[in-house]
Amino acid sequence: MHSPFSAATSHHNRPIALATRGLSKSFDRPAVDALDLTVFGGEFYALVGPNGAGKTTTLRMVVGLLRPDAGSICIDGIDALADPVAAKQITAWLSDEPMIYDKLTPFEYLEFVAGLWRIDARVAEARARELIGWLGLEPHAHERCEGFSRGMKQKVALAGALVHDPKLIILDEPLTGLDAGSARQVKNVLRERAEAGGTVIMTTHILEVAERMADRIGVIAHGKLIAEGTLDELRRRTGKSATSLEDTFLTLVAEPVAAA
């Protein structure tokens, strides 16, 4: 295994955007257990797994919201535990619950985020206008968020995650509670982001989304990465080439249970 901190270890000649090695976290029981995860630059990576598998805990450790018990986290060559500020500068986090300020307008929220990330005001303003347009928030750009629906708040939060132009975007169930139209807008923005060279890591329970959008899918169970690869690679592993991701997922998740 090569060091996660070496600059451009590659898969299809891509640099490593995120590497965790031996990442562990326990609460009453192990939530994440010596997890090795590698995501490459420009990749759309979906992390799937049953409830309580350790997906959210893993990602919260990566973005600095939880301190791991053991292991290392490397983001774009930066040791995120040794230099969290530098790692955070190029990372964005979006949780399943849109956490924004009800008394600010979307533009004011984005201005605040730009201030936190020290983005030049003119650059940030241009990006904010662009994002607001992409996400269909223009008519509400100057209204306080307090009257917004959950979907609108989620879109504002997504704009906040993108306004500082992060290299790595990490999203925890970003489509939860969104209607079909809003979900498509969010998916489009994320897909465009990955195509433009950004790295997107997303947890989801909606396997069709992972199947359709992700370049690679990681299956996590009991805090361990039990399978990883493209949809075809996962199918080959289960020996059922024509099945859906749902069937593949259920087979993979059932393996460690059967083994235990």
Partner: protein
């Protein structure tokens, strides 16, 4: 099948919920602390009885005669106390309208809304009366112990005051609902409740200020002018006071009137209560547009962005503003004194210093909770590329900036009249607010800003520590303004409180 829809069944359900709420509030959700809480309450009750003895003991020993002067003092004290009950009852009624909790379940059940809200109004009355009885008990007990069992009638009067407060609170809130609508009632009712509640504290301050130089806190109520213009001893106005003093006929009359008022409120308003609750549930947040965007994004450092965000959120939330800045109401009496005594050069300015410092401590604590614990986007701030220390400093700066904004005008005005008390008050404001912020920092826990009113539930220790810190710094300032070296002794106690806070605060984990 049980008798599900009976009034008694509903009342039992309400009181079970009420009891569990109270236990959760006292134990901060840890039932294992119940024994410790019980011991603490017994100690507190003992302390309160000693305090009550120090305040009314001499009257109890001397014996109280129901003459006109006594009736004026008792009635005045009762009115001030009743303002607190009315404030609490209005709070409860407003909460009953707007907090959803189990209302969706209850209102979609086949039980008559009238029955449900009859019980809820009753619960409010009982809660208010019980709380008032607990606070009044030490005074009643001391008077009964030294001046005869007739004083135990005070318990009945306090219960009656609770019933009347609940009845009037329901009537006032429903009237507000009908006149200004569901949207505005929540804010206005809570402001009215807070102002009425503040009347108690302000009344005490006015009494203290007006009696400056005399020995009695009741001096304003004992003025010859007031007694001369008060109704005769036989007037119905004195029934509550006579009841407190042990007149059984007055007690029966007061109890009958209060129960009639409460019963009428239940009969008249319970049917409409359901309609208003449904209307309150239908209130949507109105669209508020901000104009500022025309100026474009401004260049801000992370610290400045955080400070600006905190001030903007506070300034745009009238409810939070009313809750936090209500402390300023307590500054009205000293401001009045300042204005009145401006040219007289009286030493009474020293009285102002602890009041100002105390208010700063309380306001600082509230603002510190909002900025440090009440962060609505904690993940965003925690994942921003700035250190946790810098985030905390920015938030502390936001608190201290707000404190300076609020208190600077008063300190400057005081400086023109009395420079030394102004210097002491200025230092005390900064230290008192910083100390309260430090307490909140030690006991910080993630919460929504909307939980502001329940912040004391999260940590009783933090609440008491904040109060003791503010009191001790107010005392230190008062002593310093008076020019005595005892201020240093008081300051050491205040610092000791902060050291204790530091030692007992929960460890920080990620």
């Amino acid at each position: 099948m049980s008798q599900t829809a009976s009034l008694a069944w509903l009342a039992a359900h309400e009181f079970r919920l009420g009891w569990r709420d109270w236990v959760a509030m006292m134990t901060a959700g840890h039932r294992r602390r119940l024994r410790n809480v019980a011991i603490a309450l017994i100690i507190f009750a003992g302390f309160m009885h000693l305090l009550a003895y120090s305040m009314v003991g001499r009257y109890a020993h001397a014996g109280v005669v129901p003459d006109k002067a006594t009736l004026v003092v008792v009635t005045g004290t009762m009115l001030l106390s009743w303002s607190l009950l009315l404030s609490q009852a209005m709070e409860s009624v407003t909460r009953a309208f707007y907090s959803r909790s189990d209302l969706d379940l209850i209102l979609t059940s086949p039980i008559s809304p009238r029955r449900i809200f009859t019980v809820r109004i009753g619960r409010i009355a009982v809660t208010v009366a019980v709380m008032a009885m607990l606070l009044a008990a030490p005074f009643i007990d001391v008077m009964a112990f030294f001046d005869g069992a007739r004083w135990l009638a005070g318990y009945g009067v306090v219960a009656a005051m609770g019933a009347v407060a609940a009845a009037l609170a329901v009537a006032l809130t429903v009237a507000l609902f009908r006149t200004i609508g569901a949207k505005r009632t929540r804010l206005i009712a809570q402001i009215v409740a807070a102002v009425i509640g503040a009347a108690f504290v302000i009344g005490l301050q006015v009494a203290a200020i007006l009696s400056y130089g005399s020995l009695s806190r009741f001096a304003p109520l004992q003025s010859e002018w007031l007694i001369a213009h008060a109704p005769d001893v036989g007037s119905a106005v004195w029934w509550p006071a006579r009841a407190v003093l042990g007149d059984p006929a007055a007690l029966v009359l007061v109890a009958a009137i209060s129960l009639t008022l409460l019963g009428s409120a239940m009969l008249i308003f319970s049917a409409r209560f359901g309609d208003h609750v449904v209307a309150a549930a239908g209130v949507s947040q109105s669209v508020v547009r901000q104009r500022r965007w025309a100026q474009g994004f401004r260049r801000r450092s992370p610290s400045r962005a955080l400070r600006h965000k905190e001030w903007a959120l506070l300034a745009r939330d009238p409810w939070l503003m009313s809750q936090t800045l209500m402390q300023i109401l307590y500054l009205l009496p000293p401001a009045l004194l300042l204005w009145r005594s401006f040219h007289s050069g009286t030493g009474a300015f020293v009285v102002l210093v602890p009041v100002i410092v105390m208010a700063a401590g309380q306001l600082g604590g509230g603002l510190a909770w909002l900025t440090i614990s009440g962060e609505d986007a904690p993940d965003l701030v925690a994942t921003a590329p700035i250190t946790a220390r810098r985030i905390l400093w920015a938030k502390i700066e936001a608190v201290m900036g707000a404190i300076v904004f609020v208190f600077a005008p008063l300190i400057v005005a005081l400086a023109f009249a009395a420079p030394w008390p102004a210097i002491v008050a200025g230092a005390g404001v900064l230290i008192g607010a910083a100390a309260a912020t430090f307490v909140q920092l030690c006991f910080r826990s993630q919460a929504r800003r909307s939980q502001f009113r329940r912040r004391q539930v999260s940590s009783r220790i933090a609440t008491f520590a904040e109060a003791f810190s503010s009191i001790s710094w107010a005392g230190t300032s008062a002593l310093a303004a008076a020019g005595t070296w005892l201020a240093a002794f008081s300051a050491v106690i205040a610092l000791g409180i902060l050291l204790g806070v530091c030692l007992i605060s929960p460890p920080r984990t990620s």
